[in-house]
Amino acid sequence: MTELTQADPAATAASDKAADGASRFDAVALQVVHSRLETLMRLMTRTLEQLAGTAVGREAGDYSTAFMDADGRIVAFGSAVITHLGHEVQIIPWIYEHYGRDSIKPGDVFISNDPYTGGSVHSSDVGCTAPVFAEGTLVGWVFCDMHFADVGGMVPGSFSPSAGDCFAEAVRFPPTRIYAGGEYLEDVVRAFVNNTRIPTQIARDISAEVGASHLGVRAVAELAEQYGAAELGHIIAGLRELSEEMFRARLRKIPDGVYESADYIEDGYASDRVYRALVQMTVSGDELYFDFRGSSEAAPALLNCARSGLVGGVMGPLIQQLATGIPFNSGVMRPLHVRSEPGSFIDAAFPTPIGLATGYGAWAVSDAAWGAASAALEASGDEYLRGRSSAQAGGGAHCSIFSGASNQFGEYSIFLNMDGPGGQGLAALEGLDGARGSNVSLWGSIPSVEAHESHEPFLYLSRELWRDSAGAGRWRGGAGLKSAVVVWGEKTSDQSGTFCSVRNAVPTVGRNGGYPASGVYYGPIAGTGVGEGLEHGTLETCSEIQQRYGASFESLPSKAMWEGERYLHRGPAAEVFIQTTPGGGGFGDALKRDPQAIAKDVEEGIVSSAAAASVYGVVVDELGAIDEDATAARRKALREERIHPSNPAPVPVNQGENDGC
C-alpha cells in the first residue's frame, strides 16, 4: 500500500502547508480515504477473480478496477492492466456528452467495449461502470474492466490478423446501460452475449463485473456517508492536489531536455513490415511532454491502437517509473501532455482494426516511453530514480487461440492461452538480474497448468524455463518460458486456431549495453509419437521433444490463421504444440558479468555453457567450475573482436545442449 509520505518526504512536507503556513489538508483523513479506496480496488479485483467465467479473468490478471470522481477523473486505480487507464479517463466524459449528466441515476450500470468511444482499448476488454450517489449527490464512479475470451467477430477469440476494420473484429458496445435506476435490462445483456461464441462464460464475466461494481458502489457510498459527500469531495481534491505537487517536485529532479526512444512491432501477416512507435519525451521544469509524431502510419491489421491505447500506453511509465511511490490519481496526470499524429498506428482513426491494441500498439507506446523515461531517470542522478531505469521486459501479447466443436465435456470451446502476457521474462536493471516486469501490467499472472487442464481440452506435457532466452548483460534478463501441449480428452474434437504474437523479428531490447532477449517462436511438431506414449503413461518434456523431433518443428509466422483449414489432432498421431514467451532484456556489458554468476546460471539451466563462453566469455567445465585462464583469454578475444569486427572470435562448438528447434 502506498503511504502518502513515503516517496518524497520533502515534497510532501512542502505540499501539506499552504502559503500562510496553515495546513490545507487533514493528513489523517487523506491517508484513511486513500487506504480505504486502495483496499476497495483489491476487493473489486478479488470479486472479478472469484466470479469470472474463464481462466483469463480468474488467473491471468487481465483486468483493472478504478474509482473516479464525479467528473471522471481518476481517484484510485486497481490492478492490474495499466493500459486500461487509457479509456478509463475517457469514458465518463463520453457518457455525459452523449446521455447528459442529468440522466445519470442511482442504480445505473453501463457496459462498454468500443475503443473508439472511450469504452475500451481493444474490444476484448469489456468494462462496467456505475455511478455512486450519496445524500442525493453524484460523488463518483466505480469502474472495472476484464478481458473476455470471445466478443464475436470473424474468428473465435476475436483476434483476427485479416480483419480489415473494427467491424470485422468484434461486437462493439459504446457505454450502454445494462441497469437503469437499479432495473436489470436483460434485453441489452442478451444482445451482447448473443454476439459471442461462448455465451455462458461471457454472461458469467458480465456478472462478475456487475458484482464488483455493486461492491464498489456500496463501499464508496458508505465512505461518503461517513464523511459527508461534500467533505469526501474535499478530501479527494486534497489527494489529487497532493499527488500533483509530489509529481511536480519529482519532475524538477530530472534535467530539462528531450529524451528520445522507440519501439517496434512487426506485422507478420499482411506483410513483413515493421511499425515504429517513436517518442520524444520532453521535461521542462515541472511539465512533461510525450510527443509520438514520427510514428508509423496505421497498419492494415489488428496491431493498431486508438487514442485510448495511446493514453493507456503512456500511463505505464508514468505509474511504474516516473511517478512510482506517489499515490496515483489524476493529479499525477496534470503535468502530462501527449501528442501524436492522428491516423498513425498508435492513434488510429475509426474504423481501423484495433483487435490487439493492448498487446501491440499500446504496448509499443509503453515500451517506447519506457526507454525515454529510463534515460531521463538516469540523468537525474537521484539514486532512487536511477533505480527505476531498466532494460525492456519481455513484452507484447502472445496468444494462441484454439477452438473446436467439442472439448473434454462435449461442448464447443475456445481456449485462449494467456500464458504469454504473464509468462514473460523480467527486465534486468543495475544490480539485479531479471527483476522488473512490464509497464503494461502491475503484475504478471499466468494461469496454472491445472487451471488450464481442468477447463480446456489440452494436456500440458511441460512448462519450463527456456534456456538462453534471456537478454545477456552484466545483469541478465529473466528467462522466458516454453511449453508443450497436446489436444486431450475423450470427447475432444480436433482443434483449429488463430495465433498472434510479436517479438519474433523484433526482440525485447536490453539497456546500456545489454543484449536483446531471444525472439519468440511457436508451432506444431508432428510425428513425435507422444500421443502413443501418453496412452502408455509416458510423458516427455518440451525440451526432450525438441531434442528428439526438432527437425519436424514448423515455426509459424508471428500471425497465423488456421480457421477451417487446419487442425491439431488428438490421439496416437497427436501433434505437439510448442509455445514460447520472450525473455527480458539484459542490462550492461555482458563481458563485465561476474563469472560466478554465470557459473550459477549454467548450473540452474538458464544459460548454456556454450553461450556462457561465447557471449559472456566465461568458460565453465563439465563440473561447473570456472576455468579462469580460459575465461581471461576468452574475454580478451571477445574484446579484441570489437576492434576487429572482420575477425570474429570463433563460436564455441555445441556442447550437447541443443534444444533442437
Partner: protein, 122 residues
C-alpha cells in the same frame, strides 16, 4: 549539449560534449549525437543474432527491415549500447538540451503553448 554533467547509460553528458563513463575518453563535442562518433557494428538483426553465439535455442525471425546496432567506445572498447533500428533509420538521441533541440527545429514547449488543443492534457 547538457548544461550540467549527467550520466545516461555508459555515457557522460556535459557542457563540453559526451565522454565514455568507463574511461573518460571523448566521444563527441557539444550539440552532437555521440552515437555517430563511436565504433559501431550495425546490420541486419537476425543475421547478427542468429549466428549461434547466443545459444542454440536463441533465435530471431528474419526480417529485412530490422537492424541491430552495437556501439563501442573507441578508446576502451566497452560496449556502450545495443539498440534496434529500422533499416536506414538515423541514430536516436539519448538526450538533447532544450536549447539544442530548439536550434535543430524542435521546440515542443512553444508548440504546446501556441496550440494546446493539439495535445492531450488531463
Amino acid at each position: 549539449m547538457a548544461a550540467e554533467q549527467m550520466k545516461i547509460g555508459n555515457v557522460e553528458h556535459g557542457p563540453s560534449g559526451c565522454s565514455c563513463a568507463g574511461c573518460g575518453g571523448t566521444l563527441c563535442g557539444p550539440g552532437e549525437n555521440w552515437k555517430e562518433h563511436v565504433l559501431a557494428k550495425r546490420g541486419n538483426a537476425a543475421e547478427r543474432l542468429n549466428q549461434g553465439q547466443f545459444g542454440e535455442s536463441y533465435r530471431v525471425h528474419e526480417n529485412q527491415h530490422v537492424e541491430l546496432a552495437e556501439l563501442f567506445c573507441p578508446h576502451c572498447h566497452d560496449l556502450l549500447s545495443v539498440e534496434l533500428y529500422l533499416k536506414d533509420e538515423p541514430y536516436r538521441w539519448d538526450y538533447r538540451s532544450l536549447e539544442t533541440a530548439k536550434e535543430q527545429g524542435y521546440d515542443p514547449v512553444s508548440e504546446f503553448h501556441q496550440d494546446e488543443d493539439s495535445w492531450i492534457s488531463f
